[in-house]
Amino acid sequence: MIGYVPGASALHRAHPYTPLAIATGLLLMAFAVSAPGAVWVVVAAAALFAASAGVLGTVLRPAAILALPTWVLLTILHGLLGGAPHVMLGPVAFSVPGGERALVFGGRLAAILLAFLTALATVSPARLVEAMTARGVPFGRVYLLVSTLTVVPRLRARVRQIVDAQQCRGLRLGGSPLARLRALGPLVVPLVLSALAEVDEQALALDVRGGTARGRRTALEPPEDSRADRAVRLAVLVAVVAAYAWKFLGAGG
């Protein structure tokens, strides 16, 4: 999907925990509110979050690709199977509360995707490793997280290499559905096999470089955790707590 997009925005320069905290805060806010309008305000906030980092254009497309099928499904299911009252859309009776539920669930999905794709695009994996190491997080957990964050862009690059190589050996990617299905083998098999070979090599390389050694690791260049960073994270926490307090006190939308 997407990986880190280098940039000079405040979010790019911030401590890596700050964009992650904002993304988590947006996720929690999306579930703290339940009125369609309020949920879509959170979506707008997530879009603002992406725009402030200059990555809105980058994250919109993958977010739409991921969200669109679910939106369509939610609208059809809730619209057709939801309760009264209904509005007539041509020959179809469309449930109004069902439609509202679809709007809420679809909005939550959009907010989550925009928020976390923005965090992916603005948090440099290398700086995140340094930040987590400085906080004493065990290397195994750091490696697991960073591998997960970087796996998609790495696989995309590998897929590109394999597609190029097989096309140069005469593999045609277009054609009939059967031809496309046949073309999958020469693309998927080397992807899986080479990924497995790489995992094996990386595991050995980590072992010989002390990856599994015990004890606290040294952070060579830990990112600065400024007062502004801490203030933003505190503000996110306060906003989330306030939203849930509002919700459970029965006054929320």
Binding site: R158, Q161, I162, D164, A165, Q166, Q167, C168, R169, G170, L171, R172, L173, G185, P186, V189, P190, L193, S194, A197
Partner: protein, 276 residues
């Protein structure tokens, strides 16, 4: 598929420009490579060497200019169509293997092009892979997998053969086999384009050398003349290959750049290496 397998094609880049995200990688490169020539493209990392060769197989399209292989305009062809004329061996070619045996993988390209098995057996034999032809490619060590990938392209009997760092990671025996295979292709009239940092290898196979820097051709000369001239190589950031350095230090006649030529010039030394 208008060309007979193995017959060389002229390759031409005409005023080619290419940019990655606005950063120019090639700035008006023009080269004319007659059929049957073995050309080496040298230059530092980021000079545009791989970009230049990728244009040849249609994996990249020039922003300006024209690329042709024989009478084909590359812009009008897909990579799988160009495969009938141009064989491309990637730097990390071992990552493309997918069949259950080495022989089946080497036969993939020829089967796609509707060729017979002759090229498969020849390529396997040339690269010393007949003994492991029924092995799974991933049971072989990485250098042997690289040879399998190279065999897969040689077996397609292309008229133009492009190799990106073909000797990286190979041992002496593997390297010698690649040299011998390329020399045989040259004798057969195949046009060979090699991108490499390995000047000793380039000296063994190339007839002509082009040096790129920042997307521009800064040198274009016969291999014997350029690689034997330390003074000409120095401003290009290159050093003569070992055989040329030894020849120059000893003042050997004919300024040899290949190991066997150097040995022959020394006289009485029996060379036991690659044979064309």
């Amino acid at each position: 598929m208008s060309a007979a397998p193995g017959r060389g094609h002229a390759v031409r880049w005409e005023a080619v420009r290419f940019a990655y995200d606005g950063v120019e990688a090639l700035r008006g490169v023009s080269l004319d490579v007659p059929a049957g020539t073995t050309l080496a493209i040298l230059g530092p990392n980021g000079a545009g060497k791989t970009t230049l060769t990728r244009l040849l197989i249609g994996l990249l399209r020039p922003r300006a200019g024209r690329v042709s292989v024989g009478d084909w305009d590359v812009a009008a062809k897909r990579p799988d169509e160009l495969a009938a004329r141009v064989g491309y061996v990637f730097q990390h070619a071992d990552q493309q293997l997918f069949e259950r045996t080495v022989r089946r993988d080497v036969a993939f390209g020829p089967q796609r092009l509707g060729l017979g098995d002759g090229g498969v057996e020849r390529a396997l034999g040339e690269l010393g892979l007949l003994g492991g032809a029924e092995s799974h490619p991933y049971d072989l060590p990485a250098p042997a997998r690289k040879l399998v990938a190279l065999a897969g392209v040689l077996a397609m009997e292309p008229g133009v053969l492009v190799l990106d760092e073909p000797t990286a990671g190979l041992d002496r025996a593997g390297r010698d086999r690649v040299i011998a295979a390329l020399r045989r292709r040259s004798v057969d009239g195949v046009t060979v384009v090699v991108v490499s940092h390995d000047l000793a290898f380039v000296a063994e196979v190339a007839e002509r050398i082009v040096v790129l820097r920042e997307g521009v051709v800064v040198a274009d000369a016969p291999a014997g003349r350029l690689l034997g001239d330390a003074a000409a190589l120095a401003p290009l950031g290159l050093e003569p290959p070992p055989a040329a350095a030894v020849g120059a230090a000893l003042g050997l006649p004919g300024a040899p750049i290949r190991v066997e030529d150097c040995a022959a010039a020394l006289g009485g030394v029996r060379w036991r290496g690659t044979g064309a």
